[in-house]
Symmetry: C2
Subunit: 437 residues, 2 copies
């Protein structure tokens, strides 16, 4: 029999010496924390409801049929195969008992910790807009991306079979939110429509099929310099995306969206890139202060006030930009990676009897792609790239960050193939359609 | 507006001259028929409920996490991208009006034909065994393979977390049916268990985790020479599969199977490789004779008696081995490909005013893989391969038959990587687990 936990009867982590560290979430933040703790004397239990890490920056590619789901997902057990002090536990954490230092999973088993790192990420924020949660497609999990892809491809097939079902003879897709995810998704949708008509010979009028990108602000890419937002706007418009700024969504239904001014837009699918909040149940339930957008307030070293043994990192936390209360950092992959790694290092300092040190964010820039051969990149020291150069930088950097050689190679094959002649591509409607049409 | 069909109002195939040919089903048979008709003066409408062709021989690899779903599926529109007389229609055919020469789809639209080729394939045959249809996993669609993979991987994760839930401390997987699919799946499951314990460090006792292969006959691989069946039996047993011959399943429940002798076997998942019948609704409803296993009786040229304009091909038909009533052929990919191509050629002969010619099956052999470096191949002229040589022949032949360069390349990358060090692999549980546990 394997050793069992004395409290719950469930199997304990292997009997390595040292402190018990529990990391919740295998996103960029949790993964970075666990990697810092790999091959050290602590014993790490990494918990996630998925058995894979998802490379979120490429989700819009899965949603628009440029990449396969497996291209952007990597099994957690494979990542830590040779790191024997890190154990993976597949499950969903339902609560943290911060006083008795114990997490409870959905299957009622419990795991005790000496140090806890919470990296549970973000979820879509619908701002209370009627119907938005029910009738839009967010892009925050692999399942989201698969569902959106199935919706879009099924819509195009239905439009091919029955153009008479659409007022204009063609469907409209609406993307809500003009940040990086919205810009990238709108650009990629336009390219998918193009390839669907030109290569797949779908009988859809490309002049009438519309991708509409809505944002309440008067510019795109709010986190970027204004010139880059303008460049994204011009590029998207030149490629046929209908960009409408200063438009607020009032209601979403299964057939379209109503704008604040009362205008109605028929839509075959509505993509939600409108904003993120903390992923519901767990981080939000921690007995500490939360910021405006639900993010957990943390100290300069990323721990909770009164609980130095608990850190919150990544999108779930209001990560300070620098010691002294500046910030919080934007919810970016780089922030998640750096804050997760920092929390991991602080656990090692505490185990070694040292005091913790404050977190400082090292800006490595931001990027957003607008389509083939076009992206914007805002790098440190004021350096700005756009167009093909920006796209190549974006491509190279993201692939470098992809975990695991195999995935990287296959993404490269996919990408180059797509770039060279945009071939078959993974345009599979992989829903379980057996019972449907 | 695109041109519309005068009868249904739905868009017609483009106005190319010539006869209207409808092909139902994009499996090996339908695809081969459509390829024969590509770049000819007829106009072809190819209908399938999926927008992709599935390479069925590799489904067991998807189910056991060796390949990704997209590795074995290829979008139909990509296959016929440059063949402008072939039009794809995504939908499910619900009925054929053989007198008025019209097919009706689930969305109520209709398509008229001058020639019809039916290649709707097979479905699992459960022989009326209680619970088999509800509680086993067949392996006949990509959805089947994904569901089985999710089941198996989720079971292994649950066993890692809670070995106390299993009597033996480990789960048992049962495969029903000792034909090629059953042998291949049992062998691959055993390898998956091995890699799960050795590489993924799942805390499962490999000595106690069992794969049980059941068959009612006294040998494996009934369609192959007896020596190859013995070789498969010995190889599977040497690799740890529990092969039980002469065992009939009486009942399947969510927790296991009961054998005809009364013995109960706990099972975390039951794979159904027990047999196939004609895919329900359509081919079975044709007003013609059907064989013992539901297959449609066809004439020597594969057409229906009294309806020379209708052919049934592939698994759905009792394809004659040779003129004069020999046969029927086994339900193999090669039979589907050859019969589909034959039916396509006969349409061209009839359009040209020629008489049709009978079908003759050219035996190109059969293969089944038992695992890494082991397969059996029964080639024409009595040639037999087994072991590593058989495996290499199996691998090469199947990859040659994979459609499309991109897929072939990625499958090769996957395979070689897997062969060299069995790495990450696509062991993703891609079910929508958000609401589960």
């Amino acid at each position: 029999m394997p050793p069992t936990d004395p409290v719950s009867g469930s199997p304990a982590t292997p009997a390595t010496p040292g402190a018990r560290v529990v990391v919740i979430g295998c996103g960029f933040a949790g993964l970075a924390a666990a990697r810092q703790l790999a091959d050290t004397p602590v014993q790490v239990t990494l918990i996630d409801r998925h058995n894979f890490h998802t490379f979120l920056p490429f989700l819009y590619q899965v949603a628009t049929a440029g990449l396969d789901p497996a291209d952007v997902a990597y099994p957690v057990r494979s990542i830590f195969r040779r790191l024997h002090n890190v154990v993976f536990r597949h499950g969903r954490v339902t609560s943290v008992d911060i006083e008795s230092r114990r997490v409870t999973l959905a299957d009622s088993s419990t795991i005790d910790y000496d140090h806890l790192i919470v990296g549970t990420g973000a979820a879509s924020e619908f701002f209370g807009i009627a119907g938005a949660a029910e009738h839009t497609r967010p892009l925050y999990t692999l399942g989201d991306a698969r569902r959106l892809r199935n919706d879009v491809l099924s819509t195009l097939e239905a439009a091919d079979a029955h153009p008479e079902n659409y007022d204009d003879g063609a469907p409209t897709f609406v993307v809500v939110g003009g940040g990086a995810t919205g810009v990238e998704t709108a650009g990629a949708l336009m390219e998918l429509l193009d390839v669907s008509v030109r290569q797949d010979r779908l009988r859809i009028d490309p002049q009438r099929t519309r991708v509409i990108l809505l944002d309440g602000a008067d510019r795109l890419l709010a986190g970027f310099k204004e010139a880059l937002g303008r460049y994204a706007l011009e590029t998207l418009r030149s490629r046929g995306v209908v960009v409408r700024l200063g438009e607020l969504v009032e209601e979403v239904t299964p057939t379209g969206v109503r704008l604040a001014g009362g205008e109605w837009i028929d839509a075959a699918a509505v993509v939600w890139a409108g904003g993120v909040t903390v992923d519901g149940t767990l981080a939000a339930s921690l007995p500490v202060a939360h910021g405006r957008d639900g993010r957990v307030a943390v100290q300069d070293d990323l721990s909770l006030i009164g609980h130095p043994e608990v850190s919150v990192v990544g999108d779930a936390a209001a990560v300070p930009l620098a010691p002294g209360g500046a910030g919080p950092c934007p919810q970016l992959a780089q922030v998640a990676i750096q804050s997760g790694a920092h929390a991991g290092r602080q656990v090692l300092r505490r185990v070694a009897g040292k005091s913790t040190v404050p977190f400082t964010y090292k800006d490595k820039g931001m990027m957003a792609t607008i389509g083939r051969r076009s992206a914007v990149a805002q790098l440190p020291r004021g350096l700005v790239l756009r167009g093909t150069l920006g796209w190549l930088a974006w491509l190279g950097l993201h692939i470098v960050y992809l975990i695991g050689f195999r995935n990287r190679l296959i993404v490269l094959v996919n990408w180059w193939w797509r770039y060279l002649n945009w071939p078959g591509g993974p345009r599979l409607i992989d829903a379980d359609v057996d019972a449907s049409q």
